[in-house]
Symmetry: C2
Subunit: 364 residues, 2 copies
């Protein structure tokens, strides 16, 4: 297999980390960003410098650009590394430039990112024979202290990915695994969507920490924020998620088992588990409600999860309550503006219709 | 008018304060309590001693008793001063002893206390021609440091009351005003129910303070607990309450205006107003979710308020969200076990039916 060309769409913490990481591996990689200064710095440097963290060196980058067409043309693997709120806009800009044989890999997809991007590409008249796919979370714990500099604090040992149609997952993984052997195949993009754990631990606990967030005090997101009752809420909401997965023939992993798997966490409850996870000790809590944990994760994760519940006729009550609370506390219309059934292109579908769609890419 | 005989049902903070207060005014008053030691102490003393607070002296009490029949027989005004969760049980015990001409005054009724008590009396086969009534809140800020001792920290300058049927409110007030000139007539028991402000400021803010409650830290209920977003939530929920009142021909007062009226609070928002209310400075926050602010106020205030919304065809979304949150966080079935339409005896009623019922005491 010829060495693939990568386009990284997004120059934030994750995007710069991934581009630089690929660069240090010797892959041809370009990066797209909307921030002019970042683009200039990376082009001037000819790449991205690692600083601190677990990966050292300089990641050569072919070019940085604010031109989506330039970024995408000639790339085998187009990787969207951007907040889910921007996926729609990115897909819209990308649509006219995609050509047969390309992969559009959303890293991560949040919940139902592939469905949304596929819908946007269709709406934009993209007829190219491309495959959309997604990861269940971000491979890296990363930050970018300044333009042109990346710091990877941790790399996951395993990361589930899936393509849509799912019969293309193997082909997509053959490319991804050249750089990232830890990526493995999920059943389909519903499994990667259901297993987006941020959907469980970001929006609900953030909303339920409103008093702490607005107290002005310093607090730790996991240590102070996942109190016994909040942890119990998440676990019950999560148990309903796992049950819902069964309706889609998916054997999902409950959140406590994920914590054991990902962080070797110990504890009988989620609250115990996060309190026993050293990696969480220093993660600070927000001081405003208006962060991505709510503004992004409610509309782009909880809303589509609720929609998957409706498709299966199993109302996700605890998810709906968090969406309600989010809408009232924030004065936002998350259901209307988020990944609802219409935005995902799955209106009126049954479970069977949806399974066929994610498996074959074809609608009934 | 002959001087009325009072029976105070409940020997807690409010009950002892009220009995002692009436005693100092020279009224004949007896008190019922389930706590044997309290009954013994009061009988031994021959009354209740005031200590600290704004009322001094010794309130003579005719007798204290654990026998509901003994407490009720011969009383003109039977006053229930007990947590709303006990109203049903108290009404059940009281039913066989009531006779024509007595008033049963629930002080306070929480939300729809009169409807619930009336339903219980009917179910228990009470045929006596009695009038049930209620106050919109407790007249006193009071505590009982120990059995037989009461401390009144404050007395409201105005207190709305209503009888059911409402054409008996005047008659009820003629008795109440002999001791409590600050009591005035509301339109009906729906108005006193709607104006139960605890329904707005207790359960919602308590639930939204789950993180603070479980933090183990000391915190102030109003100063720390009514953060800007929590205050805004309450104000929006309250605005819906006021709107709902219009469906019942009631001109309700919004919570901010109540704070101005009751505490001369100043502020553009509820958060500002409570932060400018000195009386609130020292009120501590809970350190457990399992207090009356949730366990009582959700089922006995939010649930009936939601029911009044349903009767009028105006879903109280923000109230319902708090009930949902309460049920999930507490693992309780508040709707099933609380003051739902069945418990209130208003199943299937329209607004007109309900207005007729509270006005005349007759169901269609």
């Amino acid at each position: 297999m010829k060495k693939p060309v990568w386009a990284i769409i997004g120059g934030g913490n994750g995007g710069q980390a991934m581009a630089a990481h690929l660069g240090t591996m010797g892959f041809q990689v370009r990066i797209y960003d909307v921030k002019e200064e970042n683009v200039e710095v990376i082009n001037k440097q000819g790449g991205i410098q690692f600083e601190d963290g677990v990966v050292d060196g300089f990641g050569k980058v072919e070019f940085a650009t604010m031109d989506m067409g330039k970024a995408v043309v000639g790339a085998d693997m187009v990787v969207i590394v951007a907040p889910a709120l921007y996926h729609k806009d990115i897909a819209t800009k990308m649509a006219p430039h995609l050509v047969d044989g390309q992969f559009v890999f959303i890293h991560p997809g949040a919940t139902c990112g592939s469905l949304e991007v596929r819908k946007v590409l269709d709406d934009e008249g993209c007829k190219a024979d491309i495959v959309v796919g997604e990861a269940m979370s971000l491979l890296y714990a990363a930050r970018s202290p300044r333009f042109g500099v990346a710091s990877i604090l941790g790399i996951k040992e395993e990361l589930m990915v899936a393509a849509m149609p799912s019969n293309k997952t193997k082909e997509m993984l053959e490319i991804l695994n050249l750089a990232f052997p830890q990526m493995y195949a999920g059943e389909n993009v519903l499994e990667t969507s259901f297993e987006n754990l941020n959907c469980m631990v970001h929006p609900g606990p953030s909303l339920l920490n409103v008093a702490q967030i607005e107290s002005g005090r310093d607090w730790k997101y996991y240590y102070d924020g996942i109190t016994p009752s909040i942890g119990a809420y998440v676990e019950k909401m999560d148990a309903a998620r796992v049950e819902l997965g069964k309706k889609y023939n998916l054997k999902l992993t409950n959140i406590l088992d994920w914590y054991v798997k990902l962080y070797s966490a110990k504890g009988e409850t989620l609250t115990d588990a996060v309190n026993n996870t050293k990696a969480y000790a220093d993660i600070s809590g927000q001081k405003t409600l208006r962060t991505r944990y709510i503004l992004e994760d409610v509309p782009m994760s909880l809303v589509p999860l609720a929609e998957l519940g409706k498709v299966a006729g199993v109302r996700q009550d605890m998810v709906e309550t968090m969406i309600d609370l989010g809408e009232f506390l924030m004065g936002e219309e998350f259901r209307k503006n988020g990944r609802n059934a219409a935005a995902l292109g799955i209106e009126g579908m049954s479970v069977e219709d949806l399974l066929k769609y994610v498996t074959t890419g074809k609608k009934n």
